[in-house]
């Protein structure tokens, strides 16, 4: 865990050095159980930075969200680095970005934060109700201390941590320039039992489940926009030439959208769960992503976002790859 003052000091140091053009981190939100991601450009703003168990968002998403505006003639583009604060899960996004050459290692300054888990807003609301004031929460080894609506309480991890944290395999950043705080012990593992359970259902049951879920989707594309791995210049989902998916919302287009996106995340999804978190319609997007994560692991012994030197999964092969179902 990290002392916020250490974090702020580091941020100030980096920002005032002039080597970075922006720093991405978290600041206190205006209400509720989630912090707000923030982008700061000046050391004077560094005191807003925080890190605690409300910092659920993945700041790596904002690296690729930055628009590259046309550079006026005669001027040079600002090629200074981007600094980004990352938890363990977030750091995998950076690694995967590097695998995919979204930027080069020298373009980023990584402030790695060991993490004991972040809370799930939906779970917390079920326990404590809505929180009109910003909540403070600190994850500890044996639970989460949370200050909500004027009271301080301690809840077990299982009750309140985000699902991703309850199966976190990388609580410490897998890549970092400035590790902030002491490494934490890994406390969980992922057996994909949720996926295995779902796999057991019959095709009819599976479809019945997805039919209901997909039909809810309003195609706001928040899941795509927030995803650190969805940063294509032109996304096939909204592309018109050719038009793979129509904009109209119905079960067919929605289903295809979800399959398309899940497919595009195969071997790339780093399980930050942002997509599912942001969905206003509570669609369990991770049930698709995790299926692929599991299969990719089992079939190809591959895990994205852990090795910056790795080859992209679907741009490589092994002559011994499984041949299931092939006649």
């Amino acid at each position: 865990m990290v002392d916020e003052n250490v974090l702020r000091d580091k941020a100030k140091e980096i920002l005032s050095s002039g080597e970075v053009r922006r720093l991405i981190g978290w600041k206190r939100g205006t209400y509720g159980y989630e912090a707000a991601p923030c982008v700061i450009t000046d050391a004077s703003q560094a005191d807003d930075l925080i890190f605690d168990a409300t910092c659920v968002q993945n700041p790596a998403s904002f690296i690729t969200l930055e628009e590259k505006l046309p550079v006026p003639r005669g001027q040079q583009p600002d090629t200074r680095k981007i600094a980004v604060m990352v938890k363990g899960c977030d750091s995998r996004a950076v690694v995967q970005h590097l695998v995919e050459k979204a930027y080069i290692r020298d373009d980023v300054v990584i402030l790695g934060i060991p993490c004991r888990g972040v809370i799930d807003r939906r779970k917390a609301e079920k326990i404590f109700g809505e929180a009109p004031q910003p909540v403070l929460a600190v994850a500890e080894k044996d639970g989460v201390v949370i200050r909500v609506n004027g009271e301080e309480k301690k809840v077990s991890r299982e009750e309140i941590l985000a699902d991703k944290c309850l199966r976190c395999r990388y609580p410490n950043p897998v890549i970092s320039d400035y590790p902030l705080g002491d490494e934490v012990e890994k406390w969980a593992d992922d057996d994909f039992s949720d996926v295995s359970e779902f796999e057991k259902e019959s095709p009819e049951e599976k479809w019945a489940f997805w039919e209901e879920e997909f039909s809810k989707c309003i195609r706001c594309y928040a899941c795509r926009n927030v995803c650190p791995m969805c940063y294509c210049v032109e996304c096939i989902v909204t592309k018109l030439k050719p038009q793979w998916t129509r904009r109209s919302t119905d079960l067919s287009e929605n289903t295809v959208y979800h399959i398309q996106r899940a497919w595009h995340l195969a071997g790339r999804c780093i399980e930050c769960m942002e997509c599912q978190r942001v969905c206003p319609m509570d669609i369990p997007i991770m049930t698709l992503n995790r299926k692929l994560t599991k299969d990719v692991k089992e079939l190809f012994d591959y895990e994205p976002g852990v090795d910056a030197e790795a080859q992209p999964l679907l741009a490589s092969y092994n002559p011994q790859d499984p041949e299931e179902y092939i006649m």
Partner: protein, 338 residues
């Protein structure tokens, strides 16, 4: 107008009795609530905070066919809703209802929009007064309130064992008369309880914004850096607008299947980059900064300038659902300070 009550267990009977109408009511799927056409009365719920998707979709659906055609012919077949499709919408929150009176101005302006208007005319809106406003509700700042009646035809109050139903317009009498046994009459005591409920609910609303001066101030912030504080973290997802009961932007696209085609309109949002992208590649709103500015300014400056009313009802959805805590009250407050 009339005062009635419906025992909670009779709600399904009540819905069943409305068989001359298409009934729309909130339906729960997991933790999400959304209006749906009710065929099985037991699916309707009146126990919810607010629907995820506002009931604007009932007048202005996510995707709607404007007309159909055969690609090879020159005939077109409009798909305007018919006069016969009478509907009752049960359980609209007062804020969402108020949004209709705002959006009405747009759809009624100059070229009336027959699709929207036909559905509005065909619908009887039965509101549901709020007892427990959500923590980000700020309807009172925009002239609304937990039991605001404009433009409802009737309103329900949850009074424990039963709902108190107050009819407001002549239109509502038509449907009340068809409801039969499910309705009992009510009187002053229920009315008083309802008023109390509304009063106490109003007190629970914590968030406010003073809107005076904002419409005038915003245009002066056109180039102001303050927008980037927000736009930098905006995902450009459009949740805030899709789920906004007053946002009404749409796209029109042709879709063809073999030789059959339709021209349809579907929700669109000014938060999408493609929204203003010209065929030439030029985009007058190239970054999220311009888009964030447009959303807020449209609601709080452009719309009031043009139509005399702020295009926001304070339902709190954009605050609740924005994944990155872009909080419109916060934005407006800051806009006053800078």
């Amino acid at each position: 107008m009339g005062d009635y009550k419906i025992l909670k267990e009779k709600v399904p009977d009540f819905i069943k009795a409305l068989d001359k109408f298409e009934v729309f009511a909130p339906v729960k799927k997991g933790d999400t609530v959304r209006f749906e056409k009710i065929d099985d009365p037991s699916r309707a719920t009146l126990d919810f905070s607010n629907t995820n998707v506002p009931p604007k979709e009932l007048m202005f659906p996510e995707t709607e066919t404007l007309f159909r055609y055969r690609v090879v012919s020159t005939e077109i077949e409009p798909k305007v809703p018919s006069d016969e499709e009478k509907r009752v919408v049960l359980g609209i929150r007062p804020c969402d209802a108020m949004a209709f009176s705002i959006v009405d101005r747009l759809f009624g302006w100059d070229f009336p929009d027959p699709y929207y208007q036909k559905r509005r005319e065909n619908s009887i809106l039965v509101g549901l007064a709020c007892a427990e406003p959500c923590s980000n509700c700020f309807c009172t700042s925009l002239g609304g309130g937990p039991a605001n009646e404009e433009p409802l035809d009737a309103i329900l109050y949850d009074l424990g064992e039963f709902y108190y139903l107050k009819t407001i317009t002549d239109k509502s009498e038509a449907f009340v008369s068809s409801a039969g046994d499910a309705l009992e009459s009510a009187g002053d005591s229920e009315r008083a309880q309802a008023t109390e409920l509304a009063g106490s609910a109003e007190k629970k609303i914590k968030r406010t914004i003073k809107t005076e001066g904002i419409p005038e101030k915003l245009p002066s912030l056109y180039d102001h850096e303050f927008w980037t504080q927000y736009s930098n973290r905006c995902l450009g997802c459009g949740i805030c607008t899709f789920l906004c009961p007053t946002c009404h932007c749409f796209d029109i696209q042709d879709e063809i299947e073999a030789f059959d085609g339709r021209r349809a309109r579907m929700w669109d949002t000014c938060m999408f980059a493609e929204y203003t992208l010209h065929a030439s590649g030029h985009n007058p709103r190239p970054t999220r900064k311009e888009r964030t500015r447009n959303r807020i300014s449209h609601k709080y400056s452009y719309f009031p300038t043009k139509f005399g009313v702020i295009a926001c009802v304070g339902c709190g959805r954009c605050i609740n659902f924005c994944p990155v805590n872009i909080d419109i009250i916060d934005v407006l407050q800051k806009s006053k300070e800078v």
